[in-house]
Symmetry: C2
Subunit: 227 residues, 2 copies
DNA sequence: ACTTAGATTTCGCCG
DNA sequence: CGGCGAAGTCTAAGT
């Protein structure tokens, strides 16, 4: 990885066009071909960047110009960095990163609810996860006590969008004679008041869940009475 | 901005939990409070990060541990970096960045279509761009041959979301007696099949456009017969 | 402070 | 490889 701190002008041309006037910035050239142009602000996002695969040309000695080209499927992306002055130039060898384990929220909620759909507050039997419709899969498809169909949409945060999504699924499911009688449940860790407002007149039930408690109920806390 | 290259272990706890085992990485501490942990691969995305506002504590001399805390609205986010060995430690002063001029695709499409709404495939007259409704502006409002209202939503990529957005606009427009008879057109460079599936039964017409060709038709290629 | 819409979104899964 | 949904989405703008 090469780290450059330099006064530079940057021109990007690709899906859009952008020009950064000359200023002192941090340039990162990763081993995989990534190029990042960072300022001291703007948070997590670079001002400009190129994702692999790229071809990077460092021109001039001392460094005068850097050209990054991408042979993307469609049009050619192009990043040009004109160096005015180099304040810092370091090349370092970083370690290889093995995969990092993350703990996705929505996926876990879906796993837990698939295992125990009755956690939704009524006697439900799971028919299948990712029930296919022609506009996308329903997270959980269940049957209730009287064999009525129940489509469950799971989110970390239940927004208006989630209600709209579930509504679309119900629209499609009801158009199918096999699942014509189908109601909907929106399950999430947190549900925004406006989502409830929208869901209620559509007869969509909203259920707030606590993933930790959900897990706890299935695997009771063993530390309560340690040996 | 402080740049650290160090062997370190990173623990994130917040919306999810993640642990990065000890390895040599690049740590960036921006002036705005952002913290980025980058590896030599993985492209534009940091392995871990914190977005502003944060409180950063550098502990120990020599540096032993860095704690980044975020007082977000809801739960507390927490990033802990345990330093094993520092390979590089630089603090640099970068320039302030004035706004960067970007040349968005959607805006250009809107400009072109505003100039020639008939490019949508029927005789349309533009009434106004950014037609206001109480839930946001409609990109283009037009009249067709028989003076019927036509609301046009413009996107680079036409997704289900775009259909939903246009549907909401139409809902509002039809609730207004002045525009009660209003139909919708979704215009985009690319329109996803599922978006068409959703749009069709709602009588929303989908039009795919090529910005380059659109421009070419208005400004014929001058290089054809150079002087 | 909260909500909404856009993004060169990026990323990953599944067909 | 394309399509689609999720993301610790992030970020900027409007209310």
């Amino acid at each position: 990885m090469r780290l450059l701190v330099a006064r530079c002008e940057v021109r990007y041309s690709g899906r859009l066009s952008a020009v950064l006037p000359e200023a002192k910035r941090l340039l990162i050239f990763k081993g995989d071909g990534s190029v990042l142009v960072h300022a001291d602000s703007g948070g997590y996002k670079p001002l400009n960047w190129m994702t692999p695969p790229t071809a990077v040309d460092f021109e001039g000695d001392p460094l005068e110009r850097i050209v990054v080209r991408k042979r993307a499927g469609t049009g050619e992306d192009h990043l040009e960095i004109v160096i005015a002055e180099v304040a810092n130039d370091v090349t370092v060898e970083l370690d290889y990163e093995s995969g990092l384990e993350k703990d996705g929220m929505e996926r876990h909620l879906q796993e837990e609810l698939a295992a125990r759909p009755e956690a939704l507050g009524e006697r439900l039997r799971l028919v299948r996860r990712e029930w296919p419709t022609d506009i996308g899969p329903v997270d959980l498809m269940c049957r209730d006590e009287v064999d009525g169909w129940v489509a469950v949409e799971i989110k970390r945060v239940g927004t208006i969008e989630a209600v709209e999504q579930l509504t679309r699924y119900l629209e499609r499911l009801r158009a199918d004679s096999a699942t014509a009688e189908c109601r909907g449940i929106l399950a999430a860790e947190r549900i925004r008041p406006q989502a409830v407002t929208l869901a209620t007149p559509r007869s969509i039930r909203c259920v707030e869940l606590d993933l930790a408690r959900l897990r706890g109920e299935r695997e009771p806390d063993l530390t309560l009475f340690p040996a």
